[in-house]
């Protein structure tokens, strides 16, 4: 599974690093508490969150996530977009809830 396919299936909008969507996604993690995500998410996960501020980028870089999906129609802050672009972390957005996004991605990855 990769982000290109996930974006297509879930109709996700790409906000930056559209050229890096080919990277393999091996799993996912849903969370809005940064300590939780730092501890429990894994490398190559796609991170599903409603946090849109710039601090999510450092967490994603440290965890080597495949990308971040902002849910509930949240848009990344300007600083978030700049940092993510610079660090090479793909940022995608959707109007779906975290629950629905996670459920659909889980099914696609484990199909």
């Amino acid at each position: 599974m990769n982000l290109t396919l996930l974006a297509e299936k879930l109709n996700l909008m790409v906000r930056c690093n559209g050229n890096r969507l080919g990277r393999e996604v091996s799993g996912g993690y849903v969370g809005d508490l940064l300590s939780d995500v730092m501890t429990n998410s894994r490398k190559d996960d796609v991170w599903i969150t409603c946090q849109s501020h710039q601090n999510i980028v450092a967490v994603s870089v440290l965890k080597e996530h495949a990308g971040i999906i902002l849910v509930l129609g949240k848009e990344p802050d300007k600083d978030t977009l700049e940092k993510a672009s610079r660090e090479g972390i793909p940022l995608l957005v959707t109007k779906l809830s975290g629950f629905e996004a996670a459920g659909r991605i889980y099914n696609l990855i484990n199909a």
């Binding site: 940064l34 939780d36 730092m38 490398k43 601090n55 450092a58 440290l62 600083d79």
Partner: protein, 140 residues
């Protein structure tokens, strides 16, 4: 032949814009030294949580790292308010963070607990109104 590397990074309190920047730099350095992925993961969690603690509670702090063939020693020293009750601070879910910090997804009371879980040895020395020193040892 045994090798030893030492690094020191200042962290500025209150500067949430750059939260995680030092930890990202440390991870890159350690990766360059050939540290394996599980040790990198544990070190990244420990430094990140420490960095966020300095930013959230202290005016200024330092993250010092010493890497040897056997282990990674991380000393985090800050000039913050200190911790009155260390046992309480170590409890998962306990936090003194204000709403502003919590809104950003910090202050969940998991930091020190997570650091301890990632360490082979963990010690907190703190003096109220002076500051706090965390000593984290991770065996390679």
């Amino acid at each position: 032949m045994s090798q030893k590397y030492e690094f020191s990074f200042p962290v500025e309190g209150e500067n949430f814009d750059d939260a995680g920047k030092v930890s990202v730099e440390i991870k890159r350095l350690l990766k360059g030294l050939g540290i394996t992925s599980d040790i990198l993961r544990r070190t990244a969690i420990a430094t990140y949580e420490s960095e966020v603690n300095i930013i959230s509670y202290a005016r200024q702090g330092n993250i010092n790292i010493r890497v040897t063939d056997d282990n990674i020693l991380i000393n985090i020293q800050d000039s913050g308010p200190g911790i009155t009750d260390i046992e309480q601070a170590m409890r998962q879910g306990y936090s003194t963070a204000d709403d502003r910090i919590r809104e950003m997804g910090f202050g969940a009371g998991m930091g020190l607990f997570n650091i301890k879980n990632c360490s082979d040895s963990f010690e907190i020395l703190s003096e109220v109104n002076k500051g706090t020193l965390l000593k984290i040892l991770i065996n390679r």
